[in-house]
């Protein structure tokens, strides 16, 4: 057992081990801990998305599973096995070597052996063995198989929603077993019988309808853009004009909808607007926001293939309607797993006259790595601008920040975006420090709240899951005085302020483009800038 101090209080992490038999024994509502289980899906969302609904409570013994649930579940299982080679393979080839065990931040933070990635996969593998392999049918428990019962469903519900799909374990697995994929399929199975969490389905339903997770209507988005423009005016004295739903623009910009409202996303949002304004002034850059494709993120990727497809469809649809040349994507984590690995497969790129291979209109750089999907990451875009010296930057405006960079799980392990954001940050800040080697790049730790776990009811799980990251931040905070955690993920920006407060670390959280916005010298800016985007005074030349 380990006790971690946080400002006089202690957080106990108890690692308990029993035997393999307990791995197969379901954890049920009797053992559900508050702060670890999710609320069930709401009726309106279930009905809107066509998911079977009934009134149930995870803390009650009877979950009122729908009639014939076992058959539905197993039929879905069979279908998924037939349609997904990786799923079938990951069911078969695990040797339980344990390389993944202490790679999971939820396991590290909770000490619960069932949070080891191998154990999480075994939740589903045990059912697979019982119903889809001969050895499991004959030898049962002794072959690691278990009967599908209501208790097993409870077990699945509890633990499949304690994974943030960060894929850290997958980097260490000698066979590349991807727990995120297994959990994704597992949640799809739960969805077939309506036993799913509330949080992400609220956003999925909202996004399916309005085009963004927050359910903002066109008017709301416009208001949001407008107040950001006003904030920019207050700080820079520059009046900017923001194109929305503009046909014939060169580029469609999409970003996670958190940016329209939340803090500290807001400052990154301002950063985008300032950058695009500057490019428009100097180079005639032509872009547009869209209210229809107003969501870059995709909570469907936490739920099922079909829902993921449903949410990302609008982007190409809108690109086609507006007649843009290509798409630029903002800072977001799982959004880039989706945009890089899923979107163009799920929604084939429309063959239109206008959509073309992405070339930066300012530098002429051809983004070869995005040739077919035609979507470029903002870090790639800005890094290219900086390399070609197309924007003027005053690094010293970020001198009050001692910056460290958190590799968000999905751009890291699902895309390989490591150097571009670092290149940008190093060019807009004077003080940049890396966190310890074991906590960055492909070994990066999750914020603890991704993959549909950003719900308030699982706060303790999130705080515990974020422990390894928080400890890494603590390290650089103590050693270098780091006071700014830069991240390129909207969920990170929503999660970290809580996490850092929980671990009592006086470190601010923000995005890469916020730092760019601070450093960016607008060509039509007449006065000397006195405030950063957060309204902090800039003490230039005093240090």
């Amino acid at each position: 057992m380990v006790e971690l101090e946080r400002d006089g209080e202690y957080l106990k992490i108890e690692q308990k081990f029993t035997s393999w038999k307990d791995l197969l024994k379901p954890v049920t509502e009797k053992d559900f801990k508050p702060g670890f289980y999710h609320y069930p899906i709401l009726k309106k969302d279930a009905e809107y998305l066509g998911i079977p609904y009934r009134d149930w409570d995870p803390t009650e013994p009877d979950w009122h599973l729908p009639e014939g649930w076992k058959e539905t579940f197993l039929n879905k299982f069979k279908e998924l096995l037939e349609k997904n080679r990786q799923f079938k393979l990951f069911m078969d080839i695990c040797v339980r070597c344990g390389a993944c065990a202490d790679k999971c931040h939820y396991y590290l933070g909770t000490g619960d052996p069932k949070n080891m990635p191998v154990a999480r996969a075994e939740l589903i593998r045990s059912i697979y063995r019982r119903y889809f392999t001969k050895v499991g049918k004959i030898f049962g428990k002794w072959a690691g198989a278990r009967e599908l019962t209501e208790d097993v469903i409870k077990d699945l519900y509890y633990y499949l929603y304690q994974c943030s799909l960060c894929r850290r374990c997958s980097a260490f697995c000698p066979y590349g077993i991807d727990t995120a994929d297994i959990v994704w399929r597992g949640r799809e199975l739960l969805q077939s019988i309506g036993t799913v969490q509330r949080f992400s389905y609220i956003s999925i339903a909202a996004c399916a309808k309005t085009g963004n997770h927050l359910g903002l209507l066109p008017g709301g988005i416009v208001e949001s853009l407008q107040s950001a423009a006003e904030d920019i005016y207050d700080i820079t004295g520059v009046e900017i004009e923001i194109p929305v739903n503009k046909k014939g623009a060169d580029i469609l910009f999409v970003t996670p909808s958190g940016d329209y409202f939340a803090t500290p996303h807001w400052y990154t949002f301002m950063g985008y607007l300032m950058l695009f304004h500057e490019l428009e002034e100097r180079y005639g850059f032509s872009y547009t926001w869209s209210t229809y494709a107003s969501e870059g993120g995709n909570f469907g990727t936490f739920a099922s293939y079909e829902l993921a497809q449903k949410l990302s469809h609008k982007i190409y649809d809108e690109a086609e309607r507006l007649g843009v040349k290509w798409i630029l994507g903002g800072e977001c984590g799982h959004m880039w797993r989706d945009k890089h690995q899923f979107m163009a497969t799920m929604n084939p790129v429309p063959k239109t006259k206008t959509l073309e291979e992405p070339v930066s209109p300012i530098t002429g750089t051809y983004f070869e790595n995005a040739a077919e999907a035609k979507i470029v990451h903002i870090a790639e875009f800005i890094a290219d601008l900086i390399e070609h010296k197309k924007i003027n930057l005053d690094k010293s405006r970020n001198d009050h920040w001692k910056v460290t960079f958190h590799d968000s799980c999905n751009p890291a392990r699902g895309m390989g975006l490591y150097e571009e954001p670092r290149y940008v940050i190093k060019n807009v800040c004077n003080y940049f420090y890396e966190m310890p080697e074991h906590t960055i790049r492909e070994k990066t730790y999750c914020c603890g709240s991704g993959g549909g776990l950003l719900a308030d009811e699982v706060m303790e799980l999130r705080m515990r899951g974020g422990m390894p990251r928080a400890m890494a931040v603590k390290h650089v905070h103590k050693r270098y005085g780091v006071n700014y955690l830069c991240t390129i993920c909207a969920i990170d920006r929503a999660a970290f302020p809580h996490l850092l407060e929980f671990w009592k670390l006086p470190v601010e959280v923000g995005g890469m483009t916020e730092l760019v916005g601070n450093a960016l010298i607008l060509s039509d800016e007449e006065q000397e800038r006195e405030l950063d985007l957060r309204g902090n005074p800039l003490h230039k030349g005093e240090e």
Binding site: A101, M116, C173, Y175, G176, D178, Q226, K314, A371, L417
Partner: protein
């Protein structure tokens, strides 16, 4: 007398049963995997992607986040022959909240697998006549330790590594927790093979000419008779039984990872997703709201945006 029948069963029947089960079972597994489509390209990208020309990409980046086919093949070679991902292994010290590189598992796993490979190759000398030259070389290199007969290094290393791997399943609480009976079973079978093999070589020596006759008989489908079998000591039959049982068990066990690793989409697919879009053969059609429906739902607000010339300005 009845013992001879048992011995003949072990030399003349069991290997064929085991062989058939192994071949049919393994093919069945492989075909079963190959039959299922891969809906998404999901490489785990463990290094810098290929992007802009000024973003440096080292050879390690190319292998851990491959962009071309050759880089992907390179990644697979590293994975299969050098256990690249295990080499990345680390341990988290909870009390210090710190990760440190830990390569013991990698070292012993590599030691075990390579020793087993060389042992298998060494055994080919029983199945070939004349013996190919490279087998003689392996034999010579492996038998450097002076002893009578020369001590095979791999025979000992495999056993040491196996017991290390087993010990961690028994002594480390975390690994004990995730070890099923099946995990112990396969280790026990392999230990049985290695122990009887070593005993046969160094202690209970058997007539190797007769053994070779049995081996050649098996592969040439001319099983030997009682006269040959009678010349061989009992331990050979124990060894061969362990081998046959293990071979027959392989298709039902986790040892299928030897074939599965080649199919793993997080390793065998290039990270060129946006440059070459993957096609999902069963991609369902889109069901959801179209622009037209969206427009009708929020007509007023969308028209207002149009009236303002698709522009938003600050009120200052």
């Amino acid at each position: 007398m009845s013992l001879v029948y048992l011995e003949l069963f072990i030399t003349d029947v069991l290997p064929y049963i085991a062989g058939v089960i192994f071949i049919v079972g393994t093919l069945n597994r492989i075909i079963n995997w190959a039959k299922a489509p891969v809906p998404l390209k999901i490489p785990t990208t463990c290094a810098q992607q290929k992007s802009l020309p000024f973003i440096r990409r080292t050879w390690e980046d190319r292998l851990d986040s491959p962009y071309t086919m050759w880089e992907t093949i390179g990644r697979m070679i590293l994975e299969v022959f050098l256990f690249r991902s295990l080499f990345r292994n680390m341990r988290y010290w909870l009390d210090k909240q710190k990760g440190v590189d830990t390569r013991w598992l990698w070292l012993f796993a590599l030691m075990f697998h390579y020793s087993m490979l060389i042992i298998l190759l060494r055994h080919l000398r029983f199945f070939t006549n004349p013996i190919p030259g490279f087998l003689g070389l392996i034999n010579k290199l492996d038998g450097q330790v002076v002893f009578v007969p020369p001590l095979y290094i791999t025979g000992i290393l495999a056993l040491v590594a196996l017991f290390w791997l087993w010990a961690r399943r028994i002594l480390c609480s975390r690994e004990r927790n995730i070890s099923y009976p099946a995990d112990h079973l396969i280790l026990a079978l392999l230990a049985g093979i290695l122990i009887t093999g070593n005993l046969m070589r160094y202690i209970f020596k058997v007539d190797l000419y007769a053994v070779k006759e049995v081996a050649l008989g098996i592969v040439s489908f001319h099983p030997v008779g009682a006269a040959v079998v009678n010349q061989i000591g009992w331990i050979f039959f124990v060894h061969l039984s362990f081998v046959c049982v293990t071979i027959a068990y392989l298709p039902f066990s986790k040892i299928m990872h030897f074939a599965g690793v080649f199919f793993s989409p997080t390793r065998n697919m290039p990270n060129d997703n946006r440059a070459h879009v993957h096609v999902n053969p069963w991609n369902p059609p889109y069901h959801g709201i179209t622009w037209q429906e969206y427009y009708e739902m929020y007509k007023d607000q969308l028209d207002e945006i149009a009236e303002n010339g698709y522009k938003v300005k600050p009120e200052v």
